[in-house]
């Protein structure tokens, strides 16, 4: 891409609606490079790491494919698809809030509170109310729990500009603890001694998509992603959110009600994260154990960035990661490695992503790849220059 430097002496150019169309191919290529390269580089670096640990990277990655897609006579992909449901919803929630340039890092607390409520009230609700109504109530309850858990950070940021990284993290810790208190206390299954909730009957869980083992939570997730994409790209609310994210002072100048927008975007984000807990625990688990914390959000973040905060683009990345994490279990077991190896891969993807973004940005600006800071640092690494 070239920069468009407009000289005031240029004759008035014809006004076209979409001057970038001719370069659409370039842009698609560019986006692919920026999004796929980090993944490829991270897998490469992961392979080197595996070699260093004395494992065979080829068989490791083959096992991931087997465990996440083709295993069991082309049945394993359904496990990956089931995993996608909560991940997509969390990704949608994070896309909304990151678009506003706000860091909701409290997803773990929001998620677990939703999960605790769903599994805690699930057995009694499904027994007393008709199943569709009970499901709807439970799903809304989880969403509301997630949303409520963002209120304190949202209001503090909206009113006093308090750094939301801190407040969401702290609310997350509190939320995780509170969820465990609930699981070990009022929601404890009296029939067992280990801390866990009562198990939902199989027929009282979310129904499957006909012909598959995949629960309809996946459809809910896809629906949510589409709605989020539409809202962010086509509506006035989405535009205000983008303006606020790009430049909060401009948003104030344009008359955007910043406090209200901050709070609503937080609520939407928390609601979607709570929804993720509902579909995961109503569709897959059916109960929750004390101390259980899938921490999906931590690993979703990189892919939300790789998708460049585009809700639709999130889908293929989440699909990729679902395969990686479902297949990774098998691969890690076969290689006698901790499954936390996946965290390393995700961390590497993030690091490579920032570097590639950086290189791309330099190229757009038409400058050299080396910024003055780095050049200076390379010339005199870390040491103060002595005066001549």
């Amino acid at each position: 891409m070239t920069t468009e430097t407009i000289s005031t002496k240029a004759p008035p150019a014809a006004v076209r609606a979409k001057p970038t169309r001719s370069r659409l191919g370039d842009r698609v290529f560019d986006v692919c490079v920026r999004s796929l390269f980090p993944v490829i580089l991270a897998l490469g670096a992961g392979a080197i790491l595996l070699l260093a640990l004395g494992r065979n990277p080829v068989s490791f990655y083959q096992d991931i494919w087997l465990g996440g897609v083709s295993g069991g006579g082309w049945d394993a992909w359904q496990d990956s698809a089931i995993r996608m449901a909560p991940l997509l919803l969390i990704a949608a929630g994070l896309t909304v809030i990151f678009r506003a340039n706000i860091w909701n890092l409290g997803y773990n607390g929001q998620f677990l509170l939703g999960a605790a409520l769903v599994t805690g009230y699930g057995p009694s609700l499904t027994n007393n109310v008709s199943l569709p109504v009970a499901m709807l109530l439970l799903v809304l309850m989880a969403g509301a729990a997630g949303a409520v858990w963002t209120i304190v950070p949202a209001v503090l940021k909206a009113r006093y500009g308090t750094n939301e990284i801190i407040t969401t993290l702290m609310m997350s810790f509190i939320g995780v603890d509170l969820a465990n208190i609930l699981i070990k206390g009022p929601f404890q299954d009296p029939a067992v001694t280990i801390p866990q909730t009562r198990v939902l009957d199989l027929e009282k869980m979310l129904p499957n998509i006909p012909g598959t083992r995949i629960h309809i939570g996946l459809l809910v997730a896809f629906g949510a992603v589409l709605v989020v994409h539409y809202v962010l790209t086509r509506t006035s609310w989405g535009l205000r959110l983008r303006i606020m994210g790009a430049n909060p002072r401009a948003a104030r100048h344009f008359g955007v009600n910043l406090p209200r927008l901050i709070i609503t975007s937080f609520l939407v984000s928390g609601f979607l994260v709570g929804l993720a807990a509902a579909v995961d625990f109503l569709g897959l688990w059916g109960y929750i154990r004390g101390g259980q914390n899938p921490a999906y959000g931590d690993t979703v973040i990189p892919f939300v960035f790789l998708a460049r905060l585009n809700a639709l683009a999130v889908i293929p990345f989440i699909a990729f990661f679902s395969v990686l994490s479902v297949g990774g279990d098998l691969a890690a077991t076969n290689a006698n490695l901790s499954t936390d190896f996946l965290l390393v891969l995700v961390g590497l993807i993030l690091l490579f992503m920032t570097v590639i973004e950086y290189l791309g940005r330099r190229r757009d600006l038409g400058g050299t790849y080396l910024p003055p800071g780095l050049k200076e640092a390379l010339r005199a690494p870390l040491f103060r220059r002595r005066s001549p």
Binding site: L53, W103, V152, L156, R159, Y160, T162, N163, I165, I166, T167, L169, M170, M171, F173, I174, D177, L178, N180, I181, K184, G185, D298, T299, I301, P302, F305, L337, S338, D340, F341, L342, L343, V344, L345, V346, G347, L348, L350, L351, M353, T354, V355, E357, Y358, P371, P372, G373, L374, E376, A377, A380, L382, F383, R384, R385
Partner: protein, 314 residues
């Protein structure tokens, strides 16, 4: 029901203070590190990963040499490895500090867990208890004696370090440079001091201190390394540093209070009181949230925090 007779005992208070110190020192090292970074305008979200690197490498050092001091040094090196990413990507290249921080935390969590498992399988070797140094004359005092004045040498050094840092911030050119780098980096640059170098040193110190905090956690506090041993303490340290607003003494106080909260359920159990660890664990966070709600208006962060500095850019 909590009975006064259960808590009003010497044993209980000794265990509270000792426990608070044991759990508070790693927080303190790490939060002091973050304080240095924040003063210089670098927001380090990757502390958790750096602590874990320090905890793991520190444990290895102590495990293979049998010396806690070698362990502390390898732990410092571990934290510094993490901070090198921060320095190159954020300080030199000006990339997003939060994204890189998250990446360091994820990779740190993953790599230490993988290496631990690769090396020791599912066994968790234990280290000998770190030797303590009793301060003559003082360690006989009731409650405070055995809790405060009979500690590993590193704890005393930690207190000395707090004073040193306070002096460094207030009375030296280094302190002034750090503040300028966080408040208005272009002014520091115009004064002929390299912002990149100042911030790089600050970020490196942060890594070193987070690594030391992690090493203390595995070597002294736990005597063992397990994956995810830090359990969010890196994030707690960020909170403590922000609340301490750049003042080492406040960081000391905050770390100690958090340390007590982290260890209080053990002390209570010792006194025969069973309160869920979840409740106790939640308390300091709840207290801070309440404090933030009440005093939100007064929180202060350097204006240039988390903003990369590129000379000539406006």
């Amino acid at each position: 029901m909590i009975l006064a007779s259960q808590v009003w005992t010497e044993v209980f208070w000794t265990s509270v203070i000792a426990g608070g110190l044991l759990a508070g020192v790693p927080l303190m090292f790490t939060a002091l590190g973050e304080t240095i970074s924040e003063r210089a305008g670098v927001l380090n979200i990757g502390l958790e990963g750096m602590m874990l690197l320090g905890a793991y490498l520190g444990f290895l050092g102590a495990h293979y040499t049998g010396s806690v001091w070698v362990g502390f040094l390898t732990g410092i090196a571990g934290g510094m490895i993490g901070s090198v990413f921060m320095i190159v990507l954020c300080v030199w290249l000006g990339l997003d500090q939060i994204v890189v921080g998250i990446a360091i935390t994820l990779a740190g969590e993953g790599i230490t867990s993988v290496l631990q498992q690769a090396q020791f399988g599912s066994t968790y070797p234990r280290l000998d208890a770190a030797p303590t140094v009793a301060i003559p004359g003082l360690h006989h005092i009731s409650v405070l004696g055995s809790s405060l004045f009979d500690q590993p040498l590193i704890v005393y050094l930690a207190f000395v370090f707090v004073g040193l840092l306070a002096w460094l911030f207030r009375r030296t050119n280094i302190g002034l440079n750090l503040r300028a780098a966080g408040e208005k980096p272009e002014a520091l640059d115009a004064a002929g001091v390299s912002v990149v170098a100042t911030r790089s040193w600050a970020a490196l110190s942060t890594g070193a201190l987070a690594g030391l905090g992690g090493a203390y956690l595995s070597i002294v506090a736990a005597g063992i390394f397990t994956p995810f041993i830090t359990q969010g303490q890196g994030f707690m340290a960020i909170v403590i540093a922000m609340l301490g607003r750049g003042r080492p003494l406040w960081v000391l106080l905050g770390s100690f209070l958090f340390g007590i909260a982290l260890s209080l359920s053990d002390s209570l159990q010792l006194a025969g009181i069973n309160i869920s660890t979840d409740v106790v664990h939640m308390l300091p966070f709840a207290a801070i949230i309440i404090a933030l709600i009440l005093f939100a208006r007064r929180s202060y962060l350097p204006p240039a925090l988390a903003l990369p500095y590129v000379r000539g850019a406006r």
